[in-house]
């Protein structure tokens, strides 16, 4: 959840530090935005963004909680709808003992980690696919008028607590996997688990933001974005050997979503990597997450700059 404000830090230069910086810049005759933007202002913008995100989310949660029964129903619906995914996998295992050489508990491990990571980013940023509509009908104007980062506003808009259902389901499957799977636990492997879930959530979030940024140009791109995120999570729930090597390679290097899951999961499970990457690759997810978030931030800023409102 931290990445959403970083990405806007330099566009939304706010807070005292940035003010000073721009005053200085002007004194030297350099336009403010072209001047170097100090780290401090990024941190201020991040803080502002998170604060605004919290405010808006709080408001939506209060208004959701006003209708508690409806919240419980929709959250359960969300849980049930995503649970069907795993039920499909269970059904498959009713006929075979292993899927691409992976046992049911191992698949459950892949599924649980990926679903939890995705659930987290979906909870935090799942509203972002509405951006295309806002760009098309010009209602983004309104968000630009407020003294808080636009990204935080877009992300928090209509925050839906019912998406907790997806996380609950992911955690449940993960719990089942951890109870049944045969892992040779070490300290590194145990630490790998939260690391891969959090990095995964960050990478998914970066894809959400980049996808949303793309909608500044192609306003109907929410389908494209969904195929990356929702499609990505479906793919990741199956073992990599099930797919052709080239596809896997493409997914690993083109869409770094594989870092969410496969590479660290293979390490935790003590499996050979089908691509023959060194063990070290399993420790890369946090780094990949940071790079992805930075790239998503660049894309978002470029997108926001391209916004040109509408005629009425």
């Amino acid at each position: 959840m931290a990445e959403e404000a970083i990405t806007e830090a330099s566009v939304e230069a706010s807070g005292e530090a940035s003010v000073e910086a721009s005053v200085e810049a002007r004194a030297e005759g350099v336009p403010a935005a072209e001047a170097w933007i100090p780290r401090v202002s990024r941190r201020a913008a991040l803080r502002d963004g998170l604060r605004a995100y919290g405010l808006i989310v709080g408001m939506w949660m209060r208004s959701t909680m006003a209708y508690r029964a409806s919240f419980v129903m929709t959250a359960f619906g969300n849980f049930a709808a995503t649970a069907f995914d795993f039920v499909a996998i269970l059904l498959m295992f009713a006929h075979v003992d292993a899927l691409g050489g992976y046992s049911l508990p191992e698949v459950a491990f892949l599924y649980g980690t990926s679903a939890t990571a995705f659930g987290l980013s979906d909870l935090a940023l799942g509203s972002m696919d509405r951006l295309g509509r806002r760009v098309r009908d010009g209602t983004l104007d309104t968000l630009l008028l407020r003294p808080v980062p636009v990204l935080a506003q877009v992300a928090a808009d209509r925050f839906a607590l019912r998406r907790l259902g997806r996380i609950a389901q992911g955690l449940l499957v993960l719990g089942y996997a951890l109870l049944t799977v045969d892992i040779d636990w070490t300290v590194t492997r145990a630490l790998m688990l939260p690391m891969m879930v959090l990095s995964g959530a960050a990478i998914f979030s970066a894809v959400f933001v980049a996808g949303a940024a793309f909608q500044f140009w192609a306003q109907d791109a929410s389908e494209v974005q969904n195929s990356f995120t929702y499609g990505g999570t479906t793919l990741l729930q199956y073992p990599p050997t099930l797919f052709a090597k080239d596809l896997v390679r493409g997914v690993t290097f083109v869409v770094p979503l594989a870092f969410v899951n496969w590479i660290p999961a293979l390490y935790v499970l003590g499996r050979e990597d089908p691509l023959g990457l060194p063990d070290l690759a399993a420790f890369l997810p946090p780094l990949v997450a940071v790079v992805c978030c930075a790239l998503a931030g660049v894309a978002w800023r470029a997108g926001l700059r391209a916004y040109r409102s509408t005629g009425s």
């Binding site: 230069a13 403010a32 104007d141 630009l144 008028l145 407020r146 003294p147 980062p149 409102s309 005629g311």
Partner: protein, 324 residues
């Protein structure tokens, strides 16, 4: 008037060009440019209330969007309170209030009061200040019964009043209003105008207002700017519009009987209906010599002078401009 003093809002040769694609034939798309704002310069000192008018598509909304930082100018220099809006949009946001008549800035699905509470926190308005401002707006804009209604259930006029209140909760130094009286009934319009007049008088809030209802301008603004095709046609007092618009007054004369159109130097007959005739003469000229001349030559029964109305002046201005 446009260049004196220190400008709170300053525009120097501001331009906004949109690249648009237009269908040309079956598959081909032609790129061309719309110069929505084409080199506009003006200054608005602190505390002034200015009308910004022009026909549809003149570039009014585009100017306001640049003044808020929503759009980045394609050229020229623009400052509001010393801030470049598009570069420091979030910082400027603290100091300005904006009402788009066409579009709400409130949260569509939340009750009005929830939107206000959210603004309170977002703009970091001190609690006491917020309470005072909210009470004042609720009272003057008649919002008491609407506070718990979700915004989407409000009527246009109710929503507009809600939006005006929302724009003022953080004590902005300048208020931009883009067609704030659109779709309001007579009573609501009067209420909104009175509210704005008080705001300007008591708080010294600078106001820039666009509208198609010239009564808004007549009742609120001493200064008016007219734009068309992205260029400033006029900037000055409301009264001065008549001279620039080459406006004419009308002398209505009742004669004893039907006669051919009156012919006198300095005036021309524009309409004849039985014994009554309408003569147009330049608004700046005195009517007395004209009346004397007519009385000497024609059997005069009665007469009256009609002042040009602002609608006609503006309409003439728009029309002249389009003909060029």
């Amino acid at each position: 008037m446009s260049t004196d003093g220190t400008g709170f809002i300053e525009l120097d040769g501001v331009e906004k060009v949109f690249d648009v694609r237009r269908k040309a034939g079956l598959l081909r798309r032609e790129k061309h440019q719309v110069r929505a704002v084409d080199g506009i310069s003006f200054r608005v000192p602190r505390g002034e209330m200015v009308g910004y008018i022009g026909p549809n598509g003149a570039g009014k909304s585009t100017t306001i969007k640049m003044l808020t930082g929503i759009l980045t100018p394609s050229g020229g220099r623009l400052r509001v309170a010393g801030i470049d809006p598009s570069r420091e949009r979030t910082r400027l946001a603290q100091r300005i209030g904006v009402v788009f008549g066409q579009r709400t800035t409130l949260w569509w699905d939340l009750p009005l009061i929830d939107s206000y509470r959210l603004m309170h926190r977002m703009y970091r308005v001190p609690d006491a200040r917020f309470r005072v401002n909210l009470e004042r707006c609720v009272e003057l804009l008649d919002l008491a019964e609407l506070l718990d209604v979700p915004v989407r259930q409000l009527s246009l006029g109710q929503r507009m009043r809600g939006d005006i209140a929302a724009a003022l909760l953080h004590d902005p130094e300048v208020l931009y209003l883009d067609e704030p009286t659109i779709g309001l009934d007579v009573i609501s319009k009067a209420k909104v105008r009175e509210f704005l007049r008080d705001l300007n008088a008591e708080r010294g809030t600078t106001v820039l207002l666009t509208t198609h209802d010239l009564t808004d301008i007549e009742q609120l603004c001493k200064r008016v700017m007219v734009i068309d095709h992205g260029r400033l046609l006029y900037d000055g007092g409301l009264a001065g519009l008549h001279e620039v618009g080459e406006s004419e007054r009308t002398l209505v004369v009742d004669l004893e009987r039907e006669l051919p159109p009156i012919e006198v130097p300095g005036a021309r007959a524009v309409r004849v209906e039985g014994p009554r005739q309408w003569l147009a003469f330049p608004a700046a000229e005195s009517a007395a010599p004209l009346v004397a001349r007519i009385a000497a030559e024609y059997p005069l029964v009665d007469l009256s002078v009609r002042e040009p109305d602002i609608e006609a002046v503006i309409a003439k201005m728009y029309a002249d401009r389009s003909a060029v």
